[in-house]
Symmetry: C2
Subunit: 287 residues, 2 copies
């Protein structure tokens, strides 16, 4: 595995691969890998001849009062994990190369960026869309792979690629969870043991919603009330949003017809956690 | 020459060319060709193996009260002219393919889009940047060629390509003028004979500014006063802006040091015309 931080060098290597007819997969990440990242990498390893994992903690997607400075970083550990999965290049561009002086171009996926996390984190998806488009242009992969935990991000990026005619296949992969159900996230490291226990309420709420739907519930309020009840009964929690949305448009829906995405963001202590699941009339989809 | 309106077909053809190692040049236009367009095409013909000219009157770059509906169109005439220059593909995507229902992704080159035409035409450069990025992604040319008459547009696109890491060379080519000096523009067809005579004031102002600089003038006010005097003395004119800006940043400058771009937009009757020139301390540059 090579670690490349020079954008021009990354570009040359990818161009050489394309010249040899190799298919390229890209997994964009902010590093501090967990099994969620590794599952994306394993998928990419199978999907293409060459696998690039980018590691860039993107300042443009953090708000002024967010956790950019303390976002966990450990390049050595990450490089070891990536090497084991068989990554070809760990691409680690410096912020000065991504946003040099005079940088001023931003991409907005307007409607999909507004609700949910977009409402709580103004500018977040503009930063995400911009950096992902830059990485796609730098690496020019055939396939780019993202996790469904950041479901709104995945939808924003799908739309970005379709709207701007970027010649890439966007793949979304299922959430990977801890043994007890907590969705894996680099931000889980922020949690104290007590908060870690409380954090499980997101998964418990999701499981309760699924069970409600399995037992016949279809209405927005029945699902959201159950979810809200579970979160508010848990100490150290503060609900950012609980939403039931159309899986493609992310507009709020009144019923699960034939499916809907339950999405939630909850502050546990000072740590903002998100999770989501598909709720479907067709039982097999959401168990 | 082929006329292709299907985006997927254009993409396949360009991909096949790239597979054969052909270099591709793209000249994005809104059609109704004049010698300015043809000079861009001739440059592209020499610069690459394959020449694509796109013809798309882009709704996203017109304001609600602008001339989208009456913008001149004549595909048959344009096709004949393009064929004569040796264009390989005239690419004419329909608006429904460029902006299908649900379309919502836009690109902004923030600072460069604000002054000059950006101030008079809110959203114009967002529309320009977006459609140019789409065309670049559809055709994936090695070189894309633009005229300097739309100088701000050229700077916006240069910045767009650099900031978003689009692997393309952006080339700007000199303004082509009528025999009497009027910068060629598809919008010149809007002018009545009387307005056509008045329209020459833009070039006369530019020539006067150049002569002032040749004779030693360097200050903003001496140049702008002369320009303003010439325009306001001409019937049927209404100044939108007269600006002296840094050629790269488009920020207003106080002196020509070592060079500056004089840019003007003038309404002649109902027709808004633009023109610009480089004013330089080094005499040879601006004669």
């Amino acid at each position: 595995m090579e670690i490349i931080s020079d954008v021009a060098q990354m570009r040359r290597m990818a161009r050489a691969w394309r010249g040899q007819g190799k298919r390229i997969a890209l997994v964009p990440t902010m590093g501090y890998f967990h099994d969620g990242h590794l599952s994306l990498m394993r998928y990419g390893r199978e999907a293409a001849d060459k696998l690039v994992v980018s590691l860039f903690v993107n300042p443009a997607q953090f708000g002024p009062n967010e956790d950019l400075a303390r976002y966990p970083r450990d390049l050595e550990r990450d490089a070891g994990m990536a090497r084991e999965v068989g990554v070809d290049v760990l691409f680690t561009p410096p912020a000065e190369a991504m946003y040099p002086p005079g940088y001023q171009t931003y991409v907005s996926v307007e409607e999909l960026s507004r609700p949910l996390c977009g409402a709580s984190r103004p500018g977040h998806f503009k930063g995400v869309a911009t950096v992902v488009l830059k990485l796609l242009n730098q690496v020019q992969p055939d396939t780019a792979i993202f996790g469904e935990k950041d479901y709104q991000q995945l939808q924003v990026i799908r739309r970005l690629a379709a709207d701007l005619d970027v010649p890439v296949e966007i793949v979304g992969r299922p959430i990977v969870r801890e043994a007890d159900g907590l969705a894996m996230s680099s931000r889980n490291t922020y949690l104290s043991p007590e908060e870690r226990a409380s954090a499980l309420c997101l998964f418990r709420a999701i499981r309760a919603a699924r069970e409600l739907v399995l037992s016949g519930a279809r209405s927005r309020e029945s699902v959201l009330e159950a979810v809200r009840g579970i979160i508010t009964a848990t100490p150290h929690t503060d609900i950012d949003y609980i939403s039931l949305v159309h899986p493609d448009t992310l507009r709020e829906v009144d019923t699960i017809d034939p499916e809907a995405r339950l999405a939630l963001a909850v502050r546990v202590g000072k740590t903002r956690l998100i999770d989501n699941t598909l709720l479907s009339e067709s039982l097999l989809c959401c168990v």
